[in-house]
């Protein structure tokens, strides 16, 4: 199969959110001798980009985003070891620790943010829902994150976003992480009030803010 056709099959498998189809396309591409980095950059990444664009236009929704992200992650589990074995390094935009704050069980917005961050090349550590403030910090320290992204839907749970920043200060590590906040009840004023580094009014804002935050830190990983 011509390389272009291979890249096209990778792209459409990602857009379709078909994990098995993506893995089969990756396997076929590797057998053809296509470099793992090219499989990612020329085949898979354009697919993820299109998924993000379709979501922004409301042509697809959360399920498609999550399945595309799963297909991506499945393929990366195959490709990253090969890149490292060849002495290379996968260019990641950065690392994000993500979660819904303590007392809050809403996950949909967080899940969309997670998918969009992955599409932008971030390594995402999703802690889930009802996550105590300290757990965000502990995980960020453990993985060497760049960004902590905390979601809160309710007015009575958004105070936990402030708690995260206080925990960072208490451990003397505030300067190491950009803290981004979002969720139904949050506003820019709230983010400013608590000293967060960014506020995402929409899920799409999260990736943009995270990219800016990493660039400000002075390096892509």
């Amino acid at each position: 199969m011509a390389k272009e056709a291979v890249f096209e099959s990778l792209k459409s498998a990602i857009i379709d959110g078909e994990r098995d189809k993506t893995l089969a396309a990756v396997d076929a591409a590797l057998k053809q001798g296509i470099a793992p980095a090219d499989i990612i950059e020329k085949g898979m990444s354009p697919g993820m980009k299109e998924v993000g664009e379709k979501f922004a236009r409301y042509e697809i929704y959360l399920p498609e985003m999550m399945m595309a992200a799963e297909a991506w992650e499945g393929a990366m589990k195959v490709l990253e070891p090969k890149i490292m074995a060849a002495g290379g390094e996968r260019k990641k935009t950065g690392k994000v620790v993500l979660g819904t704050v303590a007392g809050d069980i809403h996950s949909i917005g967080k899940n969309i943010v997670g998918a969009m961050l992955k599409m932008s090349g971030f390594e995402v550590y999703d802690l889930g829902i009802d996550v105590p403030a300290s757990h965000f910090v502990t995980k960020a320290e453990e993985v060497g994150a760049d960004v902590i992204a905390a979601s809160a839907l309710m007015s009575t749970t958004m105070t936990q976003q402030k708690n995260i920043i206080e925990h960072l200060n208490a451990r003397g590590v505030r300067a190491k992480y950009a803290v981004l906040v979002g969720g139904g009840s949050t506003t820019q004023d709230w983010a400013d009030q608590i000293g967060a580094d960014g506020y995402g009014r929409t899920a799409g804002d999260a990736a943009t803010l995270a990219i800016k935050a990493v660039a400000k830190k002075g390096g892509k990983k």
Partner: protein, 460 residues
């Protein structure tokens, strides 16, 4: 109807499943299958559909989807499944015509149908987050002074003596207790102590917070609102609330806000899932009313065209087939004291009422800005709801299209309006500017759309 103990048994012993598999391997494919089978499609040109066959197809799609999918209990990671016979059993024996409130403030929660002349239930008060306790009293008092107000949703206290209310902490317990005490005082001052409080603590999340608030209200008259988790999920804390309310014959508002852009996908899927929640609200939440609202994943306003369509389509489906009344709620994108918020309230309330629903009047500016809430839009919406009872869906569709033209393009960047202290005076009443705007908007609705209002509030 299936007993609640059987529901609990299923939550603890049903088939094991991961959340991911429930969402992506069960919920989504099952929904897509029925959307295709029953040809359910969103029509943006007609935000209020007027096709009974279409409504019936949505209902059939919803029932088939619910039987195949069931619910998911987050804490036990098990599915709660129902047979079609069990669902039909609930529909045959479910609550209807419940009486809320007491004495001369007692009101029947009506079952309604599309284009029904039956006056809709109207509750609300503009229940957003407030910074001061006296605002709760005054906001509730003003709304309760409108004779069309059938019930109250309490505003949210955001702090207890300056300490922010934090879910799961003693501040949330104290906040819940104060909320109901203040709300009852507002009703007493309005001369309507028997009015039902239908979401006695809007800010409460945990069972302990709800129960604490309820203990300090009037258990005969005050009711919990119990919400499920997006989509078709529940946790043990919600089941705990239900176990409590069951013992008190509580007339629970069973809340479900299906998200456009979430697992239900676009407006068509959202309409089907909204209808599917109706029997769930009887079987699991043991509600006396379904309390649906539809929001997009971004920006949280309910007045977008696709939200209005999904609301109307879903309500028509369930109202034609279920005895359980649906009291739809809403959020405007614009803040209070703006013409835009009035247009938005009018649009979704009209869609609600002509589609067979009743209304909880909701909050301006998506309820996210402290003190950017208040009762006047809700009182206005009471009037709209009663003015359109009996209107045809076709006629209502024309009005909603005209309203959308006035505000739709401003939704991405709406005006924030004024905070409550800037439009209330020192006598705890709306000030002249506020009353003038309220009257101007009523006149506009009347002049432009022929809506007839009655003088039921002190403000005309």
């Amino acid at each position: 109807m299936l007993s609640f103990s059987e529901v609990v048994y299923r939550a603890l012993n049903g088939p094991i499943c991961t959340e991911r598999d429930f969402d992506l391997a069960i919920f989504v494919p099952n929904l897509r299958k029925v959307l295709q089978k029953y040809d359910i499609k969103y029509d943006p040109q007609n935000p209020i559909p007027a096709d009974d066959d279409f409504a019936d197809r949505i209902w059939e799609a919803a029932m088939e989807f619910l039987v195949a999918t069931g619910m998911f209990c987050l804490d036990t990671e098990r599915r709660i499944l129902f047979t079609r016979e069990e669902i039909e059993g609930a529909l045959q024996t479910g609550p209807s015509g419940s009486v809320y409130g007491d004495g001369k403030d007692a009101r029947i929660m009506p079952r309604r149908y599309p284009e029904d002349k039956t006056p809709p239930w109207c509750s609300g008060c503009g229940a957003g987050p407030v910074s001061k306790e006296e605002y709760v009293i005054n906001i509730v008092k003003t709304y309760a002074e409108d004779a069309l107000s059938d019930g109250i949703t309490a505003p949210c206290i955001t702090n207890v003596d300056g300490l922010p209310v934090q879910a799961g902490s003693p501040t949330a317990i104290e906040g819940a207790i104060r909320t109901i005490i203040l709300t009852r005082e507002g009703l007493r001052r309005a001369g309507r102590p028997g009015l039902a409080v239908v979401n006695e603590v809007a800010s409460a999340i945990k069972a302990a917070e709800h129960i604490a608030g309820h203990r300090f209200g009037d258990p005969k008259v005050d009711h919990l609102e119990i919400g499920l988790i997006h989509e078709l999920k529940i946790d043990l804390d919600a089941l705990n609330k239900i176990m409590y309310t069951q013992s008190l014959n509580n007339l629970t508002f069973a809340e479900n806000g299906v998200i456009i852009g979430g697992y239900a996908g676009g407006p068509a899927g959202v309409a089907v899932v909204t209808a599917a929640y109706n029997p769930v609200d009887m079987l699991v939440v043991r509600g006396a009313a379904q309390h649906p609202f539809i929001v997009p994943i971004e920006k949280g306003t309910t007045s977008r065209r696709d939200c209005i369509w999904a609301r109307a389509a879903g309500l028509q489906a369930l109202s034609r087939h279920s005895p359980l009344p649906a009291v739809g709620s809403g959020y405007s994108s614009a803040g209070p004291m703006t013409k835009m918020s009035y247009y938005e309230f009018a649009a979704w309330v009209i869609a609600n009422v002509v589609s067979g629903g009743s209304c909880e009047m909701g909050v301006p500016y998506r309820g996210v800005l402290i003190d950017h809430c208040g009762p006047m839009e809700d009182i206005f919406a009471n009037g709209i709801a009663h003015a359109v009872a009996g209107m045809s869906r076709k006629e209502a569709n024309k009005i909603v299209l005209a309203l959308l033209a006035k505000y739709e393009d401003k939704i991405p960047d709406p005006p924030t309006g004024k905070p409550y202290p800037e439009y209330y005076d020192t006598t705890a009443r709306p000030n002249k500017e506020c009353i003038a705007l309220y009257r101007e908007m009523r006149k506009e609705m009347s002049d432009e759309f022929g809506l007839k209002f009655r003088k039921t509030s002190p403000y005309g």
